[in-house]
């Protein structure tokens, strides 16, 4: 079972790599969509609308930004594909779905091999986070034709899985007692879900910043316009932030059960807190005059960096209660 899981892991990574190339080809040989979007709304009408809006919303003009974005469940279409699914796009999509399925089976068989939930160590955690990130991408794809996002999600996913499969790999085995608890499972599931969405939002924030810098860049001109990227970033963060908050709380409940204090400023907890606070700052910055847009995006990137530091740097280089194999 363990061997099967490992074989499927390799197949998954290869599938994603192929899909990534196909997505890149699809993006490169497609007409730039942003031109179409811009053509859709005549300027006069747009100006008129903004004028009306400002009056309605009051003196502060708080809705100066275009009506914004939402949590994934109700997202608007932000891409007008130049032409519909060409051959590259069909290959990309098919291979991604195939990879997603083998990815799923990789995780399930790993769970059977270890006879427990398959998220007990860094290798498994990374595998599941990558899986959920691809899932988030597929959901976005289904809801809003976010095909352009494919290459930008799959590239880091492939690198991430590569790292997980080589550096972080450990054989399937049982959990140490301190890790074997009900709240831990909840905590980890929530943390992985939020992490995977933050992962995608971090990519989007970077794309947004790149787009601001070079709106007509060769590749960048094929992405939706900056405002749409910004909204999508916000939508993902707004959806993931409560989940992350819950993950931190569940972790605190678990810590209370295991160590008798719900919060102890152990390095892991400290970085979860830092991550949380920077994401809160990101959400605030979107409601603060002068901090919208670019600065907000920097917060989104910084927050994701804190998340990565929390999982990889803290686990590997800083010793705390969380890094112990058994009880301290």
């Amino acid at each position: 079972m363990s061997g099967l899981s490992n074989d499927l892991f390799v197949i998954t990574v290869m599938a994603y790599a192929i899909a990534m190339v196909a997505f890149a080809a699809d993006l490169a040989f497609r007409r730039a969509p942003s031109r179409l979007v811009r053509a859709a709304v005549p300027d006069a009408v747009a100006a008129d609308r903004t004028a009306d809006q400002k009056v309605l919303v009051g003196s502060a003009g708080l809705i100066a930004a275009p009506p914004a974005p939402p949590a994934p469940p109700q997202v608007e279409i932000i891409e007008e594909p130049g032409r519909d699914y060409g051959r590259a796009a069909r290959i990309a999509l098919g291979v991604t779905l195939f990879g997603w399925l083998t990815h799923l089976v990789t995780i399930v068989t790993r769970g059977f091999a270890a006879r427990r939930v398959p998220w007990g160590n860094m290798y498994e955690f990374s595998t599941v986070v990558a899986f959920l990130a691809v899932t988030a991408f597929l959901v976005l794809l289904a809801r809003q034709k976010a095909r352009w996002l494919g290459v930008f999600v799959l590239l880091p996913v492939v690198l991430y899985l590569g790292l997980a499969g080589t550096v972080l790999y450990v054989k399937a085995g049982p959990l140490v007692p301190a890790l074997n608890s009900y709240w831990l499972k909840i905590h980890v599931v929530a943390a992985m879900t939020a992490t995977s969405m933050f992962f995608v939002s971090g990519i989007l924030a970077l794309l947004y910043l790149a787009k601001l810098r070079r709106p007509e860049g060769n590749l960048l001109s094929r992405l939706p316009d900056a405002a749409a990227l910004d909204r999508l970033t916000y939508g993902l963060v707004a959806f993931a932030f409560p989940i992350w908050t819950f993950a931190v709380m569940a972790g605190a409940i678990w810590a209370e059960a295991a160590w008798g204090r719900y919060w102890g400023w152990d390095p892991k907890e400290t970085w979860s807190f830092i991550t949380w606070v920077i994401y809160a700052a990101y959400l605030h910055s979107r409601a603060t005059a002068g901090w919208k847009g670019k600065r907000a995006a920097y917060f989104a990137v910084a927050a994701f960096a804190a998340l990565i530091i929390n999982y990889y740097v803290v686990n590997t280089f800083i010793v705390g209660l969380h890094s112990y194999a058994g009880v301290k």
């Binding site: 009306d52 009506p67 059960a257 959400l283």
Partner: protein, 547 residues
């Protein structure tokens, strides 16, 4: 372009949220003439979003050193080690509270400011929100169809019919509706703001709960060897931290005895279960009851909890004099140096050896012992234990020192470290004659060291388990939990609910018996598209022929 301005009294802007305005955009009442104007301006600055943002970022930044430097609250011995290793940097960082970041004045300053800023901004926001809840939605603009979501069509129904249908549909969708001649105003999603305020208020309550725990709570650690007991009094703790308002003479009066500690391991040595069986006496003189404490499963005694946090081995050390009488007899816990296979380092301090003081200075003759305990010893692998359970225990590398332990000097000492500056290493004889003997506690022939002055004999004849318990009392915990639940609820409301307004305007059209209908909608965040289209569909479905 003619637009009817909705009611915009300066104090009550028809905002879709209670976000405070940028202080630079708000007029200061009375301007220069008021003596408090600078104070008011400072207060506004402090309670502005921008300041909150800055303080949040500072808080995150300030927490970083707390994860990079060892912290006293987490592990004081690591801090001491760090200061020893960095003789220049260490004391400097210590002066800056680098090892107590989360109790540092500068850390407290940031969160106190944030706290004040939070409260200061919440009060006016709650007032604004309460008013918004009571007020009717603002009047319709002249041309609702020009809003971000907007549409217009004609129908043969009369103006009144259109408005009646519109009202029915909006009410049916749980909008709050207000009517004006020829138009309707509707609003929904007040819960967004309510949720947001709930989130921030709960955050304040959560911080208050943490403060209660900090002031009235205590935590302590005890090491208990199998068969020994513990009574919840200050003197029995190996390590004790308390809040400023804790009365140490009135701790929860329970006691317990550790009857048996049990550890099970996988074949490869990874731990499977740890269990401590204890007999608890909740009140002095009360009945005892049996309990099992596991790693994630503490024993609860009222508001106090007893956690199992660690374990290890205590060898039984006996020092006999020439006549065979025991002058010292105790179980001495050893500290695991290797957390996997529990190779442990042991220090035994025997202050009272029965040896007379020597020399003119009447130097005391105390004994200190250093040794390494391997719970499972393998002669082929002398690096240490090969398994964490007590399968084949040996006490190796036994070094015995004679002299002054330094205990009487009054300076506090770490019981797990031996200060040999005023002691000399003795040449001793182990069971096989070696000078750094290996003792086997399970073999009567090989469990003693001889060759000590005065014919003393040191014997290690048993090894028992010990468990480390952490005892915690935190009366603020319940409040923190409830506040956290409220926070999460508020947050979900705040981020997933959208506040939106819809207006319908109907007027007689150019054609005979025709009515022009305009519908428009606005959301502060999120797109209204899907919902708006649904509303329009519902309205048109109930009206006769449109075009």
């Amino acid at each position: 372009m003619s637009v009817t301005r909705p009611e915009t009294r300066p104090e009550e802007p028809t905002l879709l949220s209670t976000v405070p305005q940028d202080p630079s955009e708000r007029p200061t009442p009375g301007g220069r003439r008021r003596p408090f104007a600078p104070l008011i301006r400072a207060w506004r600055q402090l309670t502005s979003m921008r300041t909150a943002l800055l303080l949040l970022f500072l808080l995150a930044l300030a927490a970083v050193p707390g994860s990079l430097l060892p912290q006293r609250s987490v592990d004081p011995t690591l801090v001491d080690q760090y200061i020893v290793d960095h003789p220049k940097l260490g004391p400097f960082l210590d002066r800056l509270s680098g090892f107590d970041v989360f109790a540092a004045p500068w850390f407290a300053a940031i969160y106190a400011l944030l706290f004040v800023s939070l409260i200061g901004c919440l009060i006016p926001r709650m007032r604004l929100h309460a008013r918004a809840l009571l007020r009717r939605p603002p009047k319709a603009p002249a041309h609702p169809s020009r809003l971000a979501s907007g549409t217009t069509f004609e129908t043969s129904a009369s103006v009144d019919e259109v408005l009646a249908v519109g009202r029915g549909v909006l009410r049916g969708r749980r909008f709050r509706v207000a009517a004006d001649p020829g138009s309707l105003s509707a609003e929904k999603g007040y819960l967004r703001e309510t949720g947001n305020l709930l989130f921030h208020v709960s955050l304040v309550v959560l911080l208050a709960g943490i403060a209660v725990g900090g002031l009235y709570g205590y935590t302590g650690k005890v090491v208990v060897t199998d068969g020994d007991g513990f009574t919840n009094t200050l003197v029995q703790y190996d390590n004790f931290n308390r809040g400023a308002l804790v009365k140490t003479d009135r701790l929860n009066p329970f006691s317990f005895q550790l009857q048996n500690f049990e550890a099970e391991y996988q074949k490869d040595g990874t731990p499977k279960t740890y269990r401590a069986f204890v007999a608890l006496r909740a009140k002095p003189g009360g009945p005892t009851s049996q309990h099992t404490i596991k790693v994630n499963d503490p024993l609860k005694i009222g508001e106090a909890k007893v956690y199992l946090i660690n374990h290890g081995y205590s060898p039984h050390v006996v020092l006999r004099d020439r006549t065979g009488k025991a002058v010292y007899d105790a179980y001495m816990p050893c500290v695991a140096a290797d957390t996997r296979n529990l190779t442990s380092s042991c220090v035994f301090k025997i202050p009272d050896t029965g040896l007379a003081p020597v020399g003119d200075l009447k130097k005391v003759q105390q004994i200190g012992v250093r040794a390494v305990l391997a719970p499972t010893f393998d002669p082929a692998d002398t690096r240490g234990s090969i398994f964490p359970a007590l399968l084949n225990p040996r006490l190796a590398g036994v070094q015995i020192y004679l002299g002054d332990l330094g205990i009487d000097a009054g300076t506090p000492q770490n019981v797990y470290e031996l200060d040999t500056t005023r002691m000399t290493l003795l040449k001793v004889k182990g069971p096989t004659g070696a000078s750094t003997p290996i003792l086997d506690p399970r073999n009567k022939q090989a469990d003693s060291v001889t060759g000590l002055p005065g014919g003393l004999v040191l014997t290690v004849d048993k090894v028992k388990n010990y468990a480390v318990f952490s005892i915690k009392y935190d009366p603020g915990k319940g409040l923190v939990l409830w506040a956290a639940i409220a926070m999460l609820t508020g947050l979900i409301g705040s981020l997933l609910i959208r506040r939106r307004r819809v207006w319908i305007r109907a007027s007689a059209g150019p054609g005979q018996g025709r009515t022009v209908v305009e519908i428009g909608g606005l959301a502060r965040t999120g797109s209204l598209t899907a919902e708006f289209e649904d509303l329009v569909r519902r309205v048109t479905a109930r009206l006769p022929e449109q075009g």
